[in-house]
Symmetry: C2
Subunit: 198 residues, 2 copies
Amino acid sequence: MSDDDPIGAAVRLLARLPGVGEKSARRMAYSLLASGPSFAKALGEAVATLPERVRTCSICGTYTGRETCAICSDTQRTEEILCVVARPWDVDALERAGTFRGRYHVLHTLLDPLSGVGPEQFPLDPLMRRVSEGRTREVIVATPPTVEGEATALFLAESLRPLGISLTRIASGVPHGGDLEYVDPITLGRALEGRRGL
Amino acid sequence: MSDDDPIGAAVRLLARLPGVGEKSARRMAYSLLASGPSFAKALGEAVATLPERVRTCSICGTYTGRETCAICSDTQRTEEILCVVARPWDVDALERAGTFRGRYHVLHTLLDPLSGVGPEQFPLDPLMRRVSEGRTREVIVATPPTVEGEATALFLAESLRPLGISLTRIASGVPHGGDLEYVDPITLGRALEGRRGL
C-alpha cells in the first residue's frame, strides 16, 4: 500500500468493482474521507471478510451466512414448486417480484460446451436427487432466455421428464413498460409465439 | 456484522457510497465473492485505513500521504501563479486538464453564510500569509461558478486586492462539445458576456 498516494491506491482497487470507473472510484475515496474513519472501517471490514463469511446453502446452493438459507428454512413456503435458476442473484431478482412462494435450486452454471461445461460437467445430480427424493410436483426452469439458458432449459427438460413431474419455463416477451418499437426482433418473435387468449 | 446475511450487511454499507444504489451494491458484493478473498482483503484494507493514511498538505491543503504533496514538492512548477480551488478533487480535475504549471491553494470550504461560513469563519489567513510572504504574482480564483463559488471569488478579490498582485477568475461559458440548444440560459449569458475577439 502506497504511502505516497493512499488515495490513488484505494482508487485503483475501487475501480475494479463492476460499474465503477476511475472517476467514480475517486468520488468514493473522497466521500470515505469526508464521512470519516468509523464508516470506512465498517465498510472495509465488511468487504475484506465477505468471501469468508458467505457460504452456499446446503439445500438450494444460494449464498447465505448459515448452513441453510432463509428461504430453505422458511416452512411457510411450499416444497411442491421448485424454481431452477442459474445464479444466486437470480433468486434475489425473483424474490423482489414477490409472487413466488416455492423453493429455489441454484445451478451456479449453465450448459455451455464451448466454455467447458458440457452435459458431463453440468451439475445435474444434486437437482435430480432433490426432485426424486422430495415432494416436488413442478419444476419451473428460470434460466435466462439466452443461448446457454435455453440450452440448459432443454437439457433439464430431457433429464427431468422421466421423473413424471410438471415442467415449465418462465415466459419470454416484451418487458413491462417496453415500447414495441424498441424491442429486438427475437424478443418480439417470442412475444408473438407465447401469446395467450384474452 | 450479521452472520445471517453477510451479503445484505455489505450491500447496506456499499450503498452508502456516492452513486451506488442497492442494485449496484449487490452487484459489487457478488463480484467480490466471484473474485475471491485476496482482492476483497486488499480492497477492504485500503478502504478501512484510507482516512488514517490521508493527510492534508502542509503547504496547499490538498490530500496527500506525506507532509507536503507531490505538486508542492515539484520544484519545476512556478511559485508565481497560485490557483485557488474549493476542494482537493478540483486539483485533480485541473491537473487532468494538464496545462497549469503553477501551485494550488485548497480552501476546503466556500463562503456560505447560510451554512455558517461567513467572512469571520472563512479560512482567509493561510492564503493571505502565503501570498504576502511568497513569490506569488498572480492568483487565479478557480472556485466553481455557483452562488457560493462566485461569492467566494468576490470576497477573495476584495481581500487580496491590497496585496497588489494580479487577480484572475477562470472563464465560465459553453462547455467543449456542448450544443447551445442544451446549455442553460445562465451559462449562455456568461458565454456571451465573456466573449473574446477573433
